[in-house]
Symmetry: C2
Subunit: 227 residues, 2 copies
Amino acid sequence: MTIVVFPLYEGVTHLDFTGPHQFLSSFPDIKIIVASIGGVDIISHELTFSGLADLEAVERCEVLCVPGGLGCFPAMENAPFLGAIRRLASTADHVTSVCTGSLILAAAGLLKGRRAACHWAFRDLLTAFGAIPDCGRVVRDGNVITGGGITAGIDFALTLLAELRGVDAAQSAQLLLEYAPEPPFQAGLPETAPSHVREAVLARMAASLSDAERRVATIAQRLHNVG
Amino acid sequence: MTIVVFPLYEGVTHLDFTGPHQFLSSFPDIKIIVASIGGVDIISHELTFSGLADLEAVERCEVLCVPGGLGCFPAMENAPFLGAIRRLASTADHVTSVCTGSLILAAAGLLKGRRAACHWAFRDLLTAFGAIPDCGRVVRDGNVITGGGITAGIDFALTLLAELRGVDAAQSAQLLLEYAPEPPFQAGLPETAPSHVREAVLARMAASLSDAERRVATIAQRLHNVG
């Protein structure tokens, strides 16, 4: 039995974990624990996830998978949450994340000198914690496997499954979930999106980005002083 | 404001609706209602969705989007559920589904003579209800837009967004959610999966498939007698 833990927090982006969760859940020998501090319900984009495990009561796992979302910045400032991440990572064979979840791993001091993926708009923030931003969709560095923004969680899940159960098993899940993507547009990356679309998205994210930069600078400074 | 309703039921596959939900939720002028009969919690692959609306109390919507999952077959036999689907479909500009959700639309009598997508393994069952199976990933026939199996819900969402808000808006969501898929394997369709993987998946699904065939035959016969 392989235990996979998804630690949730207020402001998580649900597709970051529901994507991988759905792929992993087709394996009866993978036990998935979805948890939050205190086991409280988590509302993500008005969708309520309940019946969660208490993150601090989870003893160990083979795979720790931290999802992202704009709530990752307050989550980094939450000592019990970050403490649980550090503790579980120390028990895990694979320390993993999707989207800005890698910033949480980095803030926990787990990515020093490691290459990691992240959502394209927030990727450079990894450097504040001594991690090396990588534009790959799924990036592996030692026992750390990180996925890029949100939908990259699905490609990440297949990579993780191949690692945990072999290529045949991963391909079975891919067929079962009919993952043969056909995006009707090619706007998924800043490099391929039309420039007016990219500018509009950046304008919309400007406030979140500058708030994130400010928070990360403070958290990184504090870590530096402690470390 | 555009109202989109996702009707859930016991045995739904969560990624069928969490995928489109995440894409749609980035638009403040789209109101998403996730509902179940009686507003009861829905557990999907051990993930609990709570705080749901009561499906029978939802008055109308612009978009009805029925997700799939193995629970679609009992759901077809649930008169209040199917009644709510029929009633909401009659108010909607767009009647839509992901995965085997199209079988629910078909069982509700909404796809007669219409082309529709479905999960590859269950697609042919559409014919029992007078619908025309289509192997497209996202299929449009009049005001009906249907997506193929599970992960097709994301490609479906972009198609729907382009329809509701225009191509620029759909591309913005694609960039925001970094949807530039890079499947590590090409096993997402029975035609592209290695034959031993396809055979293993079919063997694993055999019991579900024959149960589905039996149920669909009975339901279709009853509809035929009524109609």
